[in-house]
Amino acid sequence: MNQSEQKQKIKNIYNSFLVKLNALKKRQFAFLKSLLEKKQQADLEDIRKNFH
C-alpha cells in the first residue's frame, strides 16, 4: 500500500468514525431530551396535585 492509499484509508476510518459519532450524538440528545421532558412532566403533575 503506498502513502496516498494509506492516507485514503485513514480518511475512510475517520469518516466512518464521524457516522458512528453522529449516531451516538443523536442518541445522547434523544435520551437527555426525554429525560428532561419526563422531569418536566413530573413537575407539572406535582404542581397539579398541590393545586387540587
Partner: protein, 338 residues
C-alpha cells in the same frame, strides 16, 4: 435542548483539509503527521460530545441512579468508539510500513546461521544471558535477547565470539531490531599500571525494522549490558588484563558525504542530515553512549567490567525453547520481503 439538536454535524475530514489547503499541500504532509492530526481530531470531537452531555445532564433535576447508568453507558460507547478508531489508525499505519530489505536479509542470514547451530546449542555451546528490557526514546518497550557462540569462520587462528542481540516488541513478539557483533583479539598494548594488556575489539552492525523510532539506541543500551557481562566473564575466568574496545562506524556520514559529492540535494539529503544529527547525539563525541572519535568515520569506547561481589558471570547455555523461539521470530521478518 432544541438548540443543541440543531448543532451542525461533526466536521468531515475533507472540510478540515480544505481549510488547511492554503497552508500545507496535503501531499507534503507525512503519513504519520496525517494520522496524528486525525487522531487528535477524533479525541477532541469525542471529548466535546462527552462534555456537552455532562453539561446538559447537570441541568436535569433529580436524576435517578438507573437514568444516570443509562447515560454513562452512552458516554462509554463514545469513549470506546474514540479509542477503537484511534487504535485502528495506528494499526493501519504500522501495517503499511515496509520492512527494509537489508533488515529482512540480515534476519534471514541470522535465521540460517541459527539453524546450523541447533546441534551446537543442544550440546550447550551457544550461550545466552537473561533478556533485557529497554525503553525507546518514544516510550515503547523492547525485549532484547542475546545469543553468543565461538566461531572461527573456518580459520582456526581467527577465532572470535559472535554476539547477537535480537530485539522484539513484547506486545506481539515481532523482531524490531538486530545487533550482529563479533568480539575478536586485536593485539596487545602496554599500560603503565597494568603492564601488558590483551586488546579485544567489538565490532558489528545494527539494523532496525523501523527508522526514527529510537530502536537503535535502546538496542545498543542493552547490547552494552550484554557486552559488559562478557567483559565480566573474562575478568572472572581468565588470567591477565583485557581491554574491550567497542568500535562503531559512522556509515550514515559516509553516505551523506558521498551523496553531497554526487550533488544530491532536497528531501533525500535532508533525511540523511536529520539521521546524522540523531547519530551524533547518540554515538558521536559527547553523545549519550560515551564514544570518542578515533578516525574519520570511526568511534570507539572502552567497555569496562562492572562486577558485583559474590555474583557469578559464568556463561549460561541457552535454553533450547528460547533458541527455537528466537528462530521462529526471525522466520517471520525474514519472510517479509521474500
Amino acid at each position: 435542548m432544541d438548540e443543541a439538536r440543531e448543532q451542525p454535524e461533526v466536521t468531515s475530514l475533507e472540510q478540515t483539509d480544505a481549510n488547511r489547503e492554503n497552508r500545507e499541500k496535503p501531499e507534503n504532509i507525512s503519513l504519520e503527521k496525517t494520522a496524528e492530526a486525525v487522531q487528535g481530531q477524533i479525541s477532541a470531537q469525542a471529548e466535546e460530545l462527552i462534555a456537552e452531555g455532562e453539561q446538559i445532564l447537570s441541568t436535569v433535576p433529580k436524576v435517578a441512579p438507573e437514568e444516570k447508568r443509562e447515560f454513562l453507558e452512552i458516554q462509554k460507547e463514545i469513549t470506546d468508539l474514540k479509542e477503537d478508531t484511534q487504535s485502528e489508525i495506528t494499526k493501519n499505519l504500522e501495517s503499511g510500513k515496509k520492512t527494509p530489505e537489508n533488515f529482512s536479509r540480515a534476519a534471514k542470514i541470522l535465521r540460517n546461521a541459527l539453524k546450523r547451530l541447533e546441534k551446537t546449542a543442544e550440546e550447550g555451546y551457544v550461550f545466552s544471558y537473561d533478556p533485557i528490557m529497554e525503553k525507546t526514546s518514544q516510550g515503547k518497550e523492547i525485549k532484547v535477547d542475546s545469543l553468543s557462540w565461538g566461531s572461527d569462520d573456518g580459520i582456526m587462528t581467527e577465532s572470535k565470539w559472535r554476539v547477537v542481540c535480537v530485539a522484539t516488541d513484547p506486545t506481539d513478539g515481532k523482531v524490531v531490531g538486530l545487533r550482529l557483533s563479533d568480539i575478536r583479539k586485536d593485539g596487545m598494548t602496554k599500560d603503565e599500571k597494568k603492564g601488558f594488556v590483551d586488546k579485544l575489539k567489538i565490532t558489528g552492525e545494527i539494523l532496525t525494522r523501523w527508522r526514527g523510532e529510537g530502536i537503535a539506541p535502546a538496542l545498543d543500551k542493552a547490547f552494552l549490558k550484554v557486552a559488559t557481562q562478557y567483559v565480566n566473564y573474562y575478568k572472572q575466568e581468565l588470567v591477565g588484563e583485557f581491554q574491550f574496545n567497542w568500535s562503531v562506524e559512522n556509515a550514515n556520514l559516509k553516505r551523506l558525504n558521498e551523496k553531497k559529492e554526487q550533488g544530491l540535494s532536497g528531501p533525500e539529503l535532508e533525511e540523511l542530515e536529520v539521521e546524522q544529527k540523531r547519530w551524533q547525539a547518540v554515538y558521536g563525541e559527547g553523545g549519550k553512549m560515551g564514544f570518542e572519535k578515533v578516525g574519520e568515520y570511526d568511534y570507539s569506547r572502552i567497555v569496562e567490567p562492572q562486577m558485583e561481589e559474590g555474583k557469578s558471570y559464568d556463561l549460561q547455555p541457552v535454553d533450547l525453547e528460547k533458541f527455537k523461539k528466537i528462530e521462529a521470530a526471525l522466520e517471520e521478518c525474514a519472510e517479509k520481503n521474500n
